[in-house]
């Protein structure tokens, strides 16, 4: 009889154990229990999110893959080219071993991309830490950034951007989400499948060691109380080997003999091989003694569940592996035939001649699906109004200046250059717009296309109202694409949430999907791939619900991409979007609220149809080459946006408006759907022709220095200095 402790280690519940017995018609042995633990984990089996994932918009006229069917999602960009992209989290490993956790996070997502036959052409990442004033947080942040730098730079893939922000909710539980983008000829996309009984299963790359056992089930599926004992569950990466794997696998992917390719990631061979068989509607016979190992005496359990990095599985026609092995030899890579696909729908695991397990694939790959709707029904969200202090509603020059100076020192608002400087963003020579802008732009050689990518998410808004917050997140991701001139066409999502078995966690997930569905429909942006990291619970509480959105847009390479910076003294400043000047809207969930009130409360809202129309307008202006710069107003509000526009070319702005009595809302409110742009005076009438007089406003002029409203002058230089000084502690 199994002990409670064993089940806990595998993140299985007792009722799940009973279900396993029912499905097998007998008690599972230890190995089989391990297989179930891995495949029924959230990471592999999506038992808490599958129902929700099915509701999501995952298709458009451009999509080429079924959601969740392959290692990543693919979308058509024309010229027989496709983009493959996905985001993946490595939160729990990074909390324990920041450097290796983050490094192997990069390694894992890159393998997902080249498993599809695509050359990885860009990386991005989204990072969340708690306050840098705490030494452990600082150590985590440093380790994570060095890990991404150390592993990513070695691969020759540019890291073109992303974001990093800070909130107390990530104490003990940082978030490390890595996104990878790949390019492949549309007709050469690989599938992670075999075709016929008799096809061979071959492992390539690193030897299998004892590292990372229980990564998927243990680390990623439980909360975090006994982290010390999980140390061996973090894998160690070898980026050089990964680079060889990329080149060798891409060479092999062109060959007729190759049938399918699969990344060996979370839950190791168990997940990779069994899912491959499941997708192919075949069974599998596997001999674990054929797996090259690092140490003597590894048990079948250890071999099957190891998460050693830099391993790939391929399916090859029987007897036709010679040319493939020659290529692997050229790259000095090890390989071994470890099994064969069979007709019968079972996985038979042998240790030499001894059959150690025979289990139904159907049972292994169909974990129970939990309905979060039921769990979340017990949750009544607390609605807390934000009472804006009277002093924030009465014009006071001194107080305003103090608050601006203080806020712009926040680690969430300052330049992130000290991070992205550590990542190579030029290699492959396609980077048109580098990190530091609202989104990144790369060109696709031999086509007339440029692609725009953004990767971010605002978790404070999602904590207030997960549905509206998620709508705002998708709107902002798309807006970041639009202000560069791109039309958003696809998204990938990284779901970072707390415990879904608790009413609050379940509620947050359910609401988030509602928001996703609304926004994806309106922007016509399917979510083509993604990752769920649940059970993000620090020692004190769960994290803010943090859906990270990776967005992709497309545009012709004839478009002159505006950047965020004002360019020249005398240019005019325009505004389109929602008019909130004079109201306190947008202080809920804002950075202002966090810094000065240490609070998270209030209502948020967005009009998605209006947002869409504003984005169409800015794209039209860019297409007609009528604007010089464009930047959306987001975290830190209007004043922060203006400082960011002035910063690069050390300019100023004269704004033809008075700061109203409710100055906090006007200057620091983060209400969405607002864009600032600059233009040449002579283009004003053309802009009005395109937009109509009503829907935009000229609000000022670019000047040499300082930010001047009609009733207050704010010195720009100290603010620009403080922005460029960067984080409060050196990361």
């Amino acid at each position: 009889m199994v002990t409670e402790e064993t089940l806990k280690e595998l993140a299985l519940t007792f009722s799940e154990y009973e279900l396993i017995i029912q499905k097998l018609g007998r008690e599972p042995n230890k190995l089989e229990l391990g297989l179930f633990g891995a495949l029924w984990s959230e990471h592999c089996g999506y038992k808490h999110t599958k129902k929700l994932l099915r509701t999501i918009k995952s298709k458009s006229k451009n999509t080429l893959t079924e959601a969740g069917a392959e290692n990543a999602g693919a979308v058509n960009i024309g010229n027989n080219k496709a983009i493959v992209m996905k985001i993946e989290s490595h939160n729990h490993p990074s909390a324990i071993e920041p450097y290796e956790g983050a490094a192997t996070g990069v390694g894992g997502i890159v393998r997902d991309i080249f498993a599809m036959g695509a050359r990885p052409i860009a990386l991005m990442n989204s990072l969340r830490f708690s306050n840098l004033s705490d030494d452990r947080n600082l150590q985590i942040a440093k380790g994570v950034v060095q890990g991404i730098s150390g592993y990513g730079n070695c691969l020759g893939i540019p890291n073109i951007g992303g974001e990093c922000s800070f909130d107390e909710s990530y104490d003990d539980n940082p978030l490390v989400n890595a996104m990878c983008i790949g390019l492949v000829d549309k007709d050469k996309i690989l599938s992670a499948k075999a075709e016929n009984p008799g096809d061979l299963l071959i492992i390539i790359g690193a030897e299998t060691g004892r590292d990372g056992i229980h990564g998927a089930s243990g680390l990623a599926s439980q909360n975090f109380e006994e982290t010390v004992e999980l140390r061996s569950a973090v894998q160690v990466g070898n980026p050089f080997l990964e680079k060889l794997l990329i080149e060798a696998c891409l060479e092999i992917s062109e060959m007729e003999e190759l049938i399918g390719m699969q990344d060996c990631g979370a839950a190791g061979i168990t997940s990779a091989a069994i899912e491959m068989a499941e997708r192919s509607n075949l069974g599998l016979s596997l001999d674990i003694s054929k797996v090259p190992v690092r140490e003597e005496g590894m048990t079948p359990y250890e071999v099957m569940l190891s998460e050693s990095q830099e391993r790939m599985l391929i399916a090859v026609k029987d007897g036709e592996y010679k040319r493939i092995f020659e290529i692997l030899d050229k790259w000095d890579l090890k390989c071994s035939i470890i099994g064969k696909f069979i007709k019968e729908n079972v996985v038979k695991i042998y240790d030499k001649n001894k059959l150690v397990s025979e289990t139904s694939i159907e049972a292994l790959t169909n974990p129970p699906e939990y309905s979060l709707d039921q769990i979340s029904k017990n949750y009544k969200p607390e609605i807390k109004k934000f009472l804006v202090k009277t002093s924030y509603k009465s014009f006071d020059e001194k107080l305003i200046k103090q608050h601006i100076t203080e806020l712009l020192k926040s680690d969430n608002l300052v330049s992130k250059k000290s991070i992205y400087k550590k990542y190579d963003h030029h290699v492959q020579t396609n980077t048109v717009v580098e990190p530091g802008e609202d989104s990144a732009v790369i060109r696709i050689k031999d086509t007339e296309k440029m692609l725009v990518f953004s990767c971010d998410g605002n978790s404070r808004l999602c904590a207030l109202d997960p549905k509206t917050g998620s709508e705002i997140n998708i709107a902002e991701a798309c807006r970041n694409i639009s202000v560069m001139g791109g039309t958003p066409i696809a998204l990938t999502d990284g779901l970072n949430f707390g415990d879904p078995t608790k009413p609050k966690g379940a509620f947050q997930l359910v609401e988030t999907f509602k928001g996703f569905n609304n926004a994806c429909e309106i922007f016509d942006t399917p979510i083509i791939s993604g990752n769920a990291s649940l059970f993000n619970e620090g020692h004190k509480s769960s994290i803010n619900p943090t859906p990270i959105i990776g967005a992709m847009g497309i545009m012709d390479n004839t478009i002159k991409t505006p950047k965020k910076s004002f360019n020249k003294n005398g240019d005019k400043i325009g505004f389109i979007g929602k008019e909130v000047w004079g109201s306190d809207l947008g202080l809920s969930g804002s950075e202002f609220q966090r810094i000065f009130e240490n609070e998270l409360s209030g209502d948020i809202s967005i009009d998605l149809e209006f947002e869409k129309s504003i984005q169409e307008k800015i794209r039209k202006l860019i297409k007609n080459n009528l604007i010089i710069s464009a930047h959306d107003i987001s975290i830190g509000g209007f004043i922060t946006a203006i400082v960011l526009c002035c910063e690069k070319n050390n300019l100023g702005a004269e704004i033809n408006m008075s700061v109203p009595d409710s100055w906090a809302g006007a200057l620091f409110g983060e209400d969405p759907t607002r864009i600032l742009f600059s233009f040449k005076e002579e283009d004003k009438s053309k802009i009005s022709e395109i937009l109509g007089n009503e829907s935009w406003k000229e609000i000022g002029t670019v000047t040499e220095k300082n930010i001047k409203f009609e009733n207050i002058l704010i010195e720009s230089e100290p603010l620009i200095l403080s922005y460029n000084k960067g984080f409060s502690k050196d990361i």
């Binding site: 000095d332 190579d424 290699v427």
Partner: protein, 231 residues
């Protein structure tokens, strides 16, 4: 003329370099695999950037024992022009074709940014530039801190063999404009005979306006012109 780009396991700048010389400049270019025995009658050899053999042990150290590197040495010693970029520079130092060594960056962090370089045009690789011209070329390295013993540095300076120095927008070569701690802000040097160039910045990443600049072209064009003119 024909350009050969040597590819080691772990190299990643070979296709960027190929794109610059073949697609942009239209010069016949081919890859030379590290297991190959010959340089295939190439007229210019480029050792591109990356992490050859993972840069384990010491950057460029393992690559310098690769059989193809013996061929490169022979080619260089008989006067053939060789450019080592980034990891290629590190390999050239390890093979002793160039003096000195590239240590960890002074701040111990990888650095990727556009760097200003002050050009010495007294070389076959830079004679298209004006002397002391300031050009912009990206750097991307964790070990670019050039150091050598006093005598070697003195020799480099006296023989006018420092070809690129990191500098400010205004051309000042000081500690602020030095991204990695290199002695005398050295970013690139040539050998005594003047036919071997090693540089940390990546000229192949600065060959198109669309991606930020074309200052790298002058380096390839200078040496290509020399080779095609037969000197």
């Amino acid at each position: 003329m024909k350009i050969g780009i040597v590819v080691f396991p772990g190299t990643w700048s070979e296709s960027d370099t190929y794109y610059a010389t073949k697609d942009i400049l239209g010069i016949n270019t081919e890859y030379i695999w590290h297991k190959d025995q010959k340089l295939n009658n190439c007229d210019l050899i480029i050792l591109p950037g990356g992490f050859s053999y993972g840069d384990y042990l010491r950057t460029g150290a393992i690559a310098s024992f690769s059989p193809i590197v013996n061929e490169v040495k022979e080619f260089a010693n008989s006067g053939g022009p060789v450019i080592g970029i980034c990891n290629g520079f590190q390999i050239l130092c390890e093979t002793k074709l160039l003096p000195g060594i590239l240590l960890r960056n002074k701040n111990l962090s990888f650095v990727c940014e556009w760097s200003n370089l002050k050009v010495n045009n007294n070389s076959i690789f830079t004679d298209k530039f004006k002397n002391n011209e300031i050009i912009k070329i990206p750097i991307s390295h964790g070990e670019g801190n050039f150091q050598a013993d006093e005598r070697a540095i003195k020799e480099l300076e006296e023989e006018n063999r420092v070809i690129f120095r990191y500098c400010s927008d205004e051309g000042e070569t000081n500690i602020i404009s030095n991204p990695n701690g290199s002695i005398n802000n050295i970013a690139g040097i040539i050998n005594k005979q003047g036919n071997v160039l090693g540089m940390m910045p990546h000229p192949e990443k600065a060959c198109e306006k669309l991606i930020g600049g074309i200052d790298g072209l002058g380096i390839f064009e200078s040496v290509i012109k020399r080779v095609t003119n037969g000197n």
